[in-house]
Amino acid sequence: MMAPSVLLLLAWMIVPLAMTIYFSFLRYNLLMPGMEEFAGFTNYKYFLTDPAFFAALKNTLILVGSVLAITVIGGIALALLLDQPMFGQGIVRILVIAPFFIMPTVSALVWKNMLMNPVNGLFAWIAKSLGMQPIDWLATAPLTSIIIIVAWQWLPFATLIIFTALQSLDEEQKEASEMDGAGPISKLVYIILPHLSRAMTVVVLIETIFLLSVFAEILVTTNGGPGTQSTNLTYLIYAQALLQFDVGGASAGGIVAVILANIVAFFLIRLIGKNLES
């Protein structure tokens, strides 16, 4: 019964993967047909010795790590806030959840042009109204800007999951801790956070999957620059594949990314597998 979907996925994985591996050993540029020849590990050599590669690797990890940190911590804070008694909780939830539905391209365009732009953007206007020098977000802090944009998109996801988990916390457990003399902080540290650990694991897992391949936001806002400051692995491969049309190089990059993703996946899944078991 598992067979159909597993087979399909297998095909989905294996066929292009095999082709990619094959291409990665070819000197193959789409724009120069007829010149394909076996190139050994040349493509890998060039990809791995590209100075941009380590920058991209670092940026990828920083991006994923920071967004995870922001969304998980922010998600907990927001979930705790939403859990307080208030009027119009439903509406606030609707406001908070909305960024999750926005196409990445659209949100990148909006942030870049209408918010972060140092001259016409709203942030600049606010800074100027307060008598401060507007920050040139995308030039001086490109990776941070992208982290902000991506975190904005994923914060609702984290909030929602953590909020739901929070609501599932047994009321009697909270009362028991009150009887035991726990104040708000102790309650948070000893009762609530441990209860949320499973939800946080899910957030980390799912977000990591999507964050490893963040791409549209970078393309629209900074084009990976200035320099390679906001280039991540996916974007680097994109540059190989769709700017240079260097299929060989991009394939090698793809394979490297696959291997790295699997290393991440391996640790993540071990961590999470355990947490999801119980």
Binding site: N113, A139, G227
Partner: protein, 415 residues
């Protein structure tokens, strides 16, 4: 039959889509299906398709960069049946030469552009200067400094800074030509270690630091246009098509204060810092609808089409930069004050001999080899980092030199 036409989403192309009834009138059996996309997306998709022989499109909108490369690969159908009244010789020679290979025209220009200086006459006056016919970079830098009034958000000069081979590198390559620099020597050795490039980049960075707007390193055409239109730029060197936007009172606050001048050059260097670009229509090899496609291209790039636009939307909106006859038309000259400057700019660019020193490639603001998109963007990233102050000019040039050498070695150009 249905033609699938891939186009970019600029104003002229959109206008053409609205005028297709005219084409349908004379060709009732041909249906048109438009694929309108943002430039970079379009380029990616069209290239992927043509290179893998996907056969998705019958008519392509491609730039002057692609035409020679693709023609050489045999990916384009030569346009030899454009019709008797098409008048190929009317096409501007600079534009036409970039689209011609072995005496065959592989793409028909829909509109062409160069770059020039747009400046605020009022600010220039206030600074006590007048724009010379052929300004030099030192004049520009000086004027920019004098026009700048940061407290009131007036910046002397706005230039492209966003990384990309078609973004900052289009401007910087053109600028470097006017400084006497070149991308490669005759042996395809990168030239970023030469003083001319250092001169170029230093001038650019210093000028922008002193008189440019904040955030310049992520500014492209649109961002600068917005700045200029809202009165925040003293001078702007960019595509000639911008002229019609900045002089349009509906969108621009400064419509009546704009002057135009030829792109600058360095004292003693004969080349100007302007580029040459055209959007062209071409037919991919392997299209099964070559005849219909050619009919369409002929219609869209004909004089008749110009008249059609003039009739519907006025002469100012006719696609510029392709035909001599347009610039000789007094009605156009009257409607478009920037006509002469555009023509001069286009004519002063020579894609076959873009620089002072000899080069092994064609292209004014690009190098027409397949690797250029990647290299150009990577170098562009370095230069935009220098502009943002993230690396020094020397460092940026050094990085550019080494990464270009790498890629050229990989590409087999440097043995």
């Amino acid at each position: 039959e249905t033609l699938t036409i891939a186009t970019v989403n600029n104003g002229d192309m959109i206008r053409m889509q609205k005028l297709t009834d005219d084409f349908k009138k004379s060709n009732p059996d041909i249906d048109l299906e438009w694929v309108t996309l943002e430039e970079n997306v379009l380029r990616q998709k069209v290239t992927t398709d043509i290179a893998t022989k996907g056969g998705q499109y019958d008519v392509l909108t491609i730039g002057t960069y692609e035409v020679p490369i693709w023609a050489k690969q045999g990916w384009l159908v030569p346009l030899d049946k454009l019709g008797d009244d098409y008048d190929v010789d009317d096409l501007l020679p600079a534009i036409r030469s970039g689209l011609t290979q072995d005496d065959k025209l592989y793409a028909a220009p829909f509109y062409g552009e160069s770059s020039m200086i747009m400046y605020r006459k009022d600010l220039m006056e206030k600074a006590g200067l007048t724009m010379p016919d052929k300004p030099t970079w030192s004049f520009i830098a000086d004027a920019a400094k004098k026009m700048t009034d940061k407290d009131n958000e007036v910046y002397g000069i706005c230039l492209r800074g966003k990384a990309g081979w078609g973004e900052n590198m289009a401007f910087l390559t053109a600028m470097s030509n006017s400084m006497g620099a070149r991308w490669f020597d005759e042996n395809w050795k990168p030239q970023f270690d030469q003083p001319e490039w250092k001169d170029t980049l230093e001038t650019y960075v210093n000028m922008m630091k002193e008189s440019g707007p904040p955030g310049a390193s992520s500014n492209g055409f649109n961002e600068n246009l917005a700045l200029f239109q809202t009165g925040k730029c003293g001078m702007w060197i960019d595509a000639t098509v911008a002229a019609s936007f900045v002089t349009n009172p509906a969108d621009s606050k400064v419509a009546d204060k704009v002057g135009f001048a030829l792109a600058p050059h360095k004292d003693g260097v004969e080349k100007n810092g302007n580029w040459l670009w055209a959007w062209n229509l071409a037919i991919p090899a392997g299209s099964k609808k070559v005849d219909a496609a050619e009919k369409f291209i002929s219609w869209a790039t004909s004089k008749h089409y110009s008249e059609l636009v003039a009739e519907k939307d006025g002469w100012a909106n006719v696609p510029p930069g392709t035909r001599t006859s347009l610039y000789e038309n007094p009605k156009y000259q009257e409607a478009a004050p920037f006509a002469k400057m555009t023509l001069d700019s286009i004519n002063s660019a020579d894609p076959k001999n873009p620089t002072v020193k000899p080069v092994p490639y064609t292209g004014v603001q690009f190098v027409a080899i397949p690797e250029f998109q990647g290299i150009g963007t990577a170098v562009g990233q370095q230069f935009s980092a220098a502009l943002a102050g993230q690396v020094s000019v020397d460092q940026a040039l050094q990085n550019a030199q080494s990464l270009t050498t790498r890629e050229m070695t990989k590409g087999g150009y440097i043995k």
